[in-house]
Structure formats: structure tokens, C-alpha cells
């Protein structure tokens, strides 16, 4: 019954997403949209003394996107903004197959998403929450995986 990509931890976070909801008066926020799948998330973050003190997300999307967002929130909570941004880059490199397997990284259990690198059409689903976090830190109100602003351009059909 095991699926290569849909491992237990991903299914669990999809079913019971952690840090679900919206913070009432966040210091940072952003909306992420993946028009191809209809993945759509709202991310709210409080940064205090350079650290992520609180983070929440809600939205709709596929299991990969939802689990990725949920695991992202548990991972970056308590981390400095710089540490979180480093994780954004490492996650993106892992999902696009550019991560150096030999080099040390800080991904830990997030490595369950490595399987998307063999599924180009699903890479964006996994990465969307991370780009949304980066957008929140950079005070960008919205990010879409389509168009010129797409951080990970992939060929698509309309």
C-alpha cells in the first residue's frame, strides 16, 4: 500500500494540518497561488526580535501543498528569519533536484518531499508555501507560480 511520494508523515499533515488559521494582527503576511492546481494559501507570521514567534496558514490545495505548508510552519517556528530563509532555499533546491546530496543541510524530516523532484508537474505544489513565506518576509502581498514572477518556471498548458 505504500506510495513513494505519499508517505505517512505527508498524509498525516494533510489530514491534520498544524498551525491552521490566521493570526489576528500579523507583522508579516502573504497570499500564495498556484493557478494550475488551484492551490491557494494565506500565510500570517509574527516576527519578534528577528525570530518567527508565531505562524499560521490556511487555504485549499492538494495534499502535497497542504502538508508542505503544515510542516513548514512547525519547522520555522522559533527560528530566526535568516534561518528560515536558508531553509526556503534548501527546500527549493531539494524539490528541484539541485541539492547537493553530499552536503549538510537543515531539512531533517522535510526530506520526505524529495520525491517531487521526479514529478516536475508537482514541484510547484510543494514549493508554494515556501515561496509564500519568502514573500511575507519580503513584504510582497501576493505570489503566483504563473507569469514573469514565477520563481520556478515550468512549462505549462492552459
Amino acid at each position: 500500500m505504500d506510495s513513494k511520494l505519499y508517505q505517512e508523515v505527508i498524509l498525516d499533515h494533510n489530514k491534520k494540518p498544524r498551525n491552521w488559521g490566521r493570526l489576528p494582527a500579523p507583522s508579516h503576511k502573504a497570499e500564495g497561488l498556484n493557478p494550475l492546481c488551484g492551490d491557494h494559501i494565506w500565510l500570517t507570521v509574527n516576527v519578534a526580535d528577528g525570530r518567527v514567534s508565531e505562524i499560521a496558514f490556511e487555504g485549499e490545495g492538494c495534499a502535497i501543498c497542504k502538508a508542505s505548508a503544515s510542516m513548514m510552519t512547525t519547522n520555522v517556528k522559533g527560528k530566526t528569519v535568516d534561518e528560515a530563509e536558508r531553509l526556503v532555499l534548501e527546500f527549493r533546491d531539494m524539490a528541484t533536484g539541485k541539492l547537493d546530496d553530499g552536503a549538510a543541510n537543515h531539512l531533517g524530516r522535510l526530506a520526505v518531499f524529495a520525491g517531487v523532484r521526479n514529478l516536475p508537474s508537482r514541484v510547484k505544489c510543494a514549493i508554494l508555501p515556501w515561496h509564500t513565506l519568502h514573500a511575507a518576509f519580503s513584504a510582497q502581498p501576493t505570489i503566483s507560480t504563473e507569469g514573469d514572477a514565477d520563481p520556478v518556471p515550468l512549462p505549462e498548458r492552459g
Binding site: L5, C62, A63, I64
Partner: protein, 417 residues
């Protein structure tokens, strides 16, 4: 559709196993499982007969067509024009010159939006479409409307995915210039009553374009019996190559229309003062066409005719009924599109599972389906869903493959239980 044929099908009206031997790609293993290819509505596979014809052309007949006096150019021209005749007979066009080679259905529709639209659609005019259209039969008309100050009128559908014909009749006005409607919905499988729709438009003097991309590969289409003004379809959905398609148009319209592109082959004479355009169909075929693809399309038509369009339609209908019965019996699976007359397209959603997750897990089981909005976002909006999973059937699909699909769907439900 003959009920008798449908009954007989399980007793092999089509020798599917022999047909499958014609398609080398169907022998592939995907993720260690036999490929079950249910994505022919997006693009069908190609039989050896078509592959061989294209290879023979490239190895023994190729040169540029028209105006060449050497042997190969004459052979290539005869093969290219022979393919046009074969396609014309296949859809029962009155004359070969009514059959224009294009890059595909999208290109065919854009040709009409340009050549007909700019000549006959002006400010305040109206074009009737249906809610079932693929983006390729919406966007070209929207672009035309923006440019000319015209308006789109949309025939609504009911919950089953059938057009509301009473509403269609009400959309006509003295300003209606064209009806552009799909023969078969790519997202839901609905077979529209196009003959009746054409007759209604004809009674009001309004010309009709039919998007036949999902019809010509799967059923006998007779453009003269339909009495449509334009009919568009693609080669790669009917066992032919990509990059080739057809626009059928009545000669009296084609002669009045502006060329789409300018260039070589579409002219009679050129000077810096004036160009005289070539006769139809050449007026619409500027530049060197995809000659090998056109010849491949001719071979695809020959292949489909050798099997028989009625047998193909009966086989697909039987598969659709078999799959519909199995999938509608699954708890938590909802079939989207339950029209009275359907082609071999089965769209569905799985409760609690996003279609892209469904598609990825089916792929792990060797099952190729399409997931997404199917370039028909208005249809998705109508059902308030972002996307569906779509299985589409063709002459080479088997009941065993449907069983493989159903098993894979059960696995989706188990994983997400």
C-alpha cells in the same frame, strides 16, 4: 449508436488485442506496471501504419511541394494533396478545396476568427458560444469581440452537462453573426445536438462553426449532412501526428474570407504594388506546410477507416458504460458530466482528494489520466470545482485497463482513508 453493436462488443466487435499490436507505445511499462493509457482526449497514440507511412515519406518521397518540376517534388505534392482528398472524403466534404491544412483545431478556429471575423463581425454584433467550450473556442472570439466591439452570448448547461436548447434559441438576435460550438465536450463528454443547432441557425441565416476535435476521432462525421459552415479538428487526437489539423469550410465562405497569414504558396502573383491571392485552399496555407504530418494524417484516416468508425464508436461506448457502472458504484467518487449522449470521456472527483493527488497515485499504478481544468475553466466554475480527473477512451483501450483504473482508484481511497 447501435444497441446491437454495443451488445456484441464484449464478444469482440473490435479485435482490440490485434489493434493494440499496431501501437508500439502501448507495450510500455510505467513504474513497473503495464501502461493503461486513458489520455487520448488530450492526445492519442500512433499506430505503426502511420509511423511507417511518415518514415516512407521521409526516406523515399520528400521534397518541397507545389511548383517543383523534379520527380520528388511531384511525388511529395501528390502525397500531400492525396492526404487532403482522403481527409475530405472521410468527412464527406463536397470538394477537396474546402479542406484546409492547419496546425490543429486551435489554429483552425483562429483562422476563422481572423478571416471570417474581421470581414463579417462589427461593433454591436454577437457571437453565440456554449458553456462547454474549450478555451480554444472561447479566447479567439473574445479577442475578436474586444477588437470589434462585439459581444459573446453563452448557451448555459444543466447539472448533467446538457446544453439548454430552449435558452440557445433565445440567444439569437438580428445581431447574431456566428454560432461557434463544440461537437463533443472535452471536459464532460457531452455530445451536443449540433445538427439541430445548425438547422436553427441556418433558419436565421447565421453561419455555424463546429469544434470537432473530440468528435472526428471517435464517430462518423459528415459535414454535408450536418450542413455546418466550418468544422475544425486535429490530427494528433485521431492517431495522427501533432502539428497538423483541418479546417473544413464551405467554399463560398472561404472565397470571401481574408487570408490568415501572408507568404509563399498563398499567392498568384506578387509585386511591390499589389499581391493577388491564390485560390482556396492554398490562400490559407502560407509557407511550407508540415508535409510529413499531413501525409501522416491521411494514413491515420486510412487506419481508422480500416477499423470502421461505427465499430470504434460502439467499442468506446461499451467501455464508457462499463467504467461508468464501476466508478459510480464507488463510494466518495462523483462523476461530473452525466449527459444523455456521451462520448468516451469520464470526468470525476474523489471526495477529500485533490485531482492532482489522484493523478499522481494513478501514475504510480501505470494509469495515465489527465487532471486539471482541461482548458475548460468555465465548465469547472459551473460545477464549483477547481479540477477533475478525466479518463478518456479510444479504440485500443480494454476492459482489463478499466479494471486497472478502478483498482488504482481504490488505492487512492485507501491511501487517503
Amino acid at each position: 449508436m447501435s444497441a446491437v453493436l454495443t451488445q456484441l462488443d464484449k464478444a469482440q466487435v473490435l479485435d482490440v488485442l490485434r489493434i493494440r499490436n499496431d501501437f508500439p507505445i502501448l507495450g510500455l511499462q510505467i513504474n513497473g506496471k503495464p501502461l493503461a493509457y486513458f489520455d487520448s482526449a488530450a492526445s492519442s497514440q500512433m499506430p505503426r501504419q502511420v509511423l511507417d507511412r511518415v518514415v516512407h515519406y521521409q526516406t523515399a518521397e520528400h521534397a518541397n511541394i507545389h511548383r517543383g518540376v523534379h520527380h520528388l517534388s511531384e511525388v511529395a505534392t501528390a502525397a500531400y494533396e492525396g492526404a487532403r482528398s482522403r481527409v475530405g472524403r472521410f468527412i464527406n466534404a463536397q470538394e477537396d478545396r474546402e479542406v484546409i491544412f492547419t496546425r490543429g483545431t486551435t489554429n483552425s478556429i483562429n483562422l476563422v476568427a481572423h478571416g471570417f471575423g474581421r470581414a463579417f463581425v462589427g461593433a454591436g454584433d454577437e457571437i453565440i458560444l456554449s458553456h462547454l467550450e474549450h478555451h480554444s473556442n472561447i479566447v479567439p472570439w473574445q479577442m475578436l469581440c474586444e477588437e470589434r466591439g462585439a459581444t459573446l452570448k453563452v448557451v448555459p448547461i444543466d447539472d448533467a452537462g446538457d446544453l439548454l436548447m430552449g435558452e440557445y434559441e433565445k440567444l439569437f438576435s438580428p445581431h447574431t453573426r456566428l454560432v461557434a460550438v463544440t461537437h463533443v465536450s472535452n471536459a464532460l463528454g457531452t455530445i451536443n445536438p449540433v445538427k439541430e443547432m445548425i438547422a436553427s441557425a441556418r433558419a436565421r441565416g447565421v453561419p455555424v462553426l463546429i469544434d470537432g476535435a473530440q468528435a472526428v476521432p471517435h464517430m462518423k462525421v459528415d459535414v454535408r449532412d450536418l450542413d455546418c459552415d466550418f468544422y475544425a479538428f486535429s490530427g494528433h487526437k485521431m492517431c495522427g501526428p501533432t502539428g497538423i489539423g483541418i479546417l473544413y469550410g464551405k467554399a463560398r465562405w472561404l472565397e470571401k474570407m481574408r487570408p490568415f497569414e501572408g507568404g509563399g504558396d498563398m499567392i498568384l502573383s506578387v509585386s511591390f504594388e499589389k499581391t493577388a491571392y491564390n485560390t482556396i485552399p492554398h490562400k490559407f496555407e502560407a509557407g511550407t506546410p508540415p508535409i510529413a504530418a499531413a501525409i501522416g494524417l491521411g494514413a491515420a484516416v486510412e487506419y481508422l477507416e480500416s477499423v470502421g468508425m461505427e465499430r470504434i464508436a460502439a467499442h468506446e461506448h461499451a467501455l464508457l458504460e462499463y467504467a461508468t457502472a464501476q466508478i459510480s458504484a464507488m463510494k466518495g467518487v462523483r462523476i461530473i458530466g452525466t449527459a444523455r449522449h456521451k462520448a468516451g470521456v469520464l470526468s470525476f472527483t474523489v471526495e477529500g482528494v485533490h485531482p492532482h493527488d489522484v493523478g499522481t497515485i494513478l501514475n504510480e499504478e501505470g494509469v495515465a489520466v489527465r487532471t486539471g481544468h482541461h482548458c475548460a475553466q468555465p465548465v469547472m466554475q459551473r460545477y464549483r470545482i477547481p479540477a477533475t480527473t478525466r479518463a478518456s477512451f479510444y479504440l485500443y483501450n480494454t476492459y482489463e485497463e478499466v479494471d486497472q483504473l478502478v483498482r488504482a482508484l481504490r488505492r487512492v481511497q485507501q491511501i487517503f482513508a
